[in-house]
């Protein structure tokens, strides 16, 4: 963590600002993966449409700054307003998707969340006013009065970093609260939880909405990072990427999603350095992880640690 805090300084010293951007992406995707981990890892809800909220957050910034520049409506470029609207829209969307999807189980849940994500994807594609398929370039980033200047990559990095810490702490508190224990309990035995007298559906829905909101905030950051918004942000393969990060890092662990997101981007960077066709290596790797990996990278670390303890 301390290492991550020093990234922009080191990058400035060795004059490689690219690293700041790359690690910034890691932080944002970590936040997205943390939010998915809340419902996937702890709640056992395999949502295959989590990138939707990333898209909503991104489009709030994209559309906001678009009107701020084109029509000169300055409040629409305000970052706090972006965050607020992104939170509200993500929450409403998650409420809508969750209230229908959570009535279903297992494979139906996976597919219905996927289909809903696809529905929002098509809304973005069909929306010609805001670029449609081609997307929308941001000519300015979200404005936070004079306190925070996001046009500087380093300040954006530290905003991402701070929010990552906040959400890590938040998810730590949440999963150890009564609410979190209930969600985890419902994962291992839903019937029992219901028989004890808890309305599992409502608790799950709340968890689903919380996860959506956090990912929506990650979307706001992501749009500022890339200066670009397009429907591709919520393409279903992006949802797949988020699942990969969570599983790769270790589901249902606090730091798993962060490790997963970092590992994912490192692998992408490393493998695409070897060959242009890097996914031809990455694809079979995923198959192997699914077959042999148990608990992801975090699980391997835990097993290594145990092995070390026994040896001592």
């Amino acid at each position: 963590m301390l290492g991550l805090a020093a990234v922009p300084l080191i990058a400035d010293v060795i004059d490689e600002p690219f690293y700041t951007v790359m690690f910034s992406r890691m932080l944002i995707l970590s936040i997205g993966a943390i939010s998915l981990n809340l419902i996937l890892g702890f709640g056992g809800m395999v949502s295959f449409g989590h990138a939707v909220y990333m898209g909503i957050g991104s489009y709030v910034v994209g559309i906001g700054t678009f009107h701020a520049i084109e029509d000169g409506i300055s409040w629409m470029g305000n970052g706090l307003i972006h965050l607020t609207i992104a939170v509200v829209f993500s929450a409403l969307t998650a409420l809508f998707i969750g209230s229908i999807s959570l009535r279903t189980r297992g494979v139906y849940f996976i597919m219905i969340t996927l289909a809903f994500a696809q529905m929002f994807y098509f809304i973005a594609v069909g929306n010609d006013n805001y670029g449609g398929d081609d997307g929308l370039s941001l000519y300015t980033r979200s404005k936070f009065y004079n306190i925070l200047d996001l046009s500087n990559d380093n300040s954006l990095y530290y905003l991402n970093f701070t929010l990552l810490i906040v959400f890590l702490y938040f998810s730590h508190r949440l999963i150890n609260s009564r609410f979190g224990i209930l969600i985890r309990g419902a994962k291992s035995n839903e019937k029992r939880m219901e028989n004890i007298g808890f309305p599992v559906y409502r608790y799950r829905l709340v968890a689903f909405v919380i996860a959506g909101v956090i990912c929506g905030i990650a979307g706001v950051l992501s749009a500022n990072q890339t200066d670009f918004v397009s429907p591709a942000v919520m393409h279903w393969t992006r949802s797949g990427d988020l699942i990969i990060m969570v599983v790769l890092g270790g589901m249902g662990t606090l730091f798993g999603p962060v490790i997963g997101a970092v590992a994912f981007l490192f692998l992408e960077e490393f493998l695409s350095g070897i060959t242009e066709f890097w996914q031809i290596i990455f694809g079979p790797m995923l198959v192997l992880i699914a077959i042999f990996g148990n608990g992801g990278i975090d699980g391997i670390l835990v097993r290594l640690d145990k092995w070390w303890q026994i040896k001592k």
């Binding site: 289909a115 069909g126 699942i243 198959v287 992880i289």
Partner: protein
């Protein structure tokens, strides 16, 4: 409203419907019997299209290409099952999603490596290239008509296979109780490989038939995969009958919605608004349908019996 156009669009809907059915039948069988979510099903469709285009160019005959593509896809499917898929049947659905997602990435890059990033064209034979008179002088492309005919023939063959042969009996038995039929001495591994190969061949056939009317390109499998997932969810996962009816329903709604929604919306709002809103709404239509059906019947319209 223009009746000739309506008839044409109904035929187009039927054509998309049978195409979806070919994919959905395999996918729903694989899910029903092996309890496997196979996202890579769209990749087999893509490979079918690429193989068909390549074989057709080699042999300069669409029909020889067809005869080569089907067994090739079947063998490819069986190999895939033996090498990778076999190991994940007992895993959680999440692991299956992860593994088959990895296979999609692999196949997409594999195709890019082998055939390059530019799409392929496929040459149709003379007899399928023209158009045929339906009724009252309405003409319809012969190839699309052939797709509909082929789809319906395959549907009937599949029905006969599943409900009137020994293999079909094993498939049905496997779908309702896996442990029992393996305890009765049926080679369940072989059965799984055969069913997966059958699904792959059907997906390949769909790819081959889609190749001349849609572009053969990387990623073509993923768009139709999602639509196919919608079909099997609406129809009830594991049910071939449900898949057939849902495929036709989705085919109609998608096609007819796309062509008539601007007119229908035009009755309610100004033409301007209708023209901008219609494309977005019509591509959402099938998903709205799915959401509605699942909200009322979470198990789909025709869930298989005894599950």
């Amino acid at each position: 409203m223009n009746w000739i156009l309506l008839l044409e669009q109904i035929m187009n809907g039927l054509q998309l419907g049978v195409l979806l059915f070919l994919l959905a039948a395999g996918l729903t069988l694989i899910f029903g019997i092996m309890d496997l979510i196979n996202l890579a099903h769209g990749s087999l469709y893509m490979l079918g299209a690429y193989l068909a285009a390549t074989f057709t160019n080699w042999t300069e005959s669409f029909f020889v290409g067809l005869l080569l593509t089907l067994p090739a896809c079947m063998v490819l499917g069986m190999l895939l099952e033996i090498i990778a898929i076999r190991n994940i049947y007992t895993r959680s659905h999440l692991d299956q999603v992860l593994a088959t997602f990895g296979l999609i990435l692999f196949f997409n890059e594999f195709v890019r490596l082998l055939w390059g990033p530019i799409g392929l064209d496929i040459q149709l034979p003379e007899i399928l290239n023209g158009s045929v008179e339906l009724i009252f002088g309405i003409r319809y492309p012969a190839f699309r008509l052939a797709i509909i005919a082929a789809g319906i023939i395959v549907a009937i063959l599949l029905y006969l296979l599943v409900s009137h042969t020994k293999l079909g009996m094993l498939i049905r038995a496997g779908a309702s109780n896996r442990q029992m039929i393996s305890a009765l001495g049926v080679n369940i591994n072989l059965l799984y490989t055969i069913v997966f190969g059958l699904g792959a061949a059907l997906a390949g056939l769909a790819g081959l038939m889609a190749a001349p009317i849609m572009t053969v390109e990387i990623g073509m499998g993923e768009e139709i995969l999602i639509l196919t997932l919608v079909v099997i969810v609406i129809g009830g996962v594991g049910s071939i009958r449900g898949a057939f009816l849902a495929a036709l329903l989705v085919g109609f709604i998608d096609t007819v919605g796309r062509s008539f929604l601007p007119d229908i919306l035009g009755f309610f709002v100004t033409n301007d608004v209708a023209d901008t809103a219609a494309p977005a709404i019509s591509s959402m239509l099938t998903y709205v349908l799915m959401a509605l059906i699942l909200a009322i019947r979470p198990q789909g319209l025709f869930p298989p019996k005894g599950v």
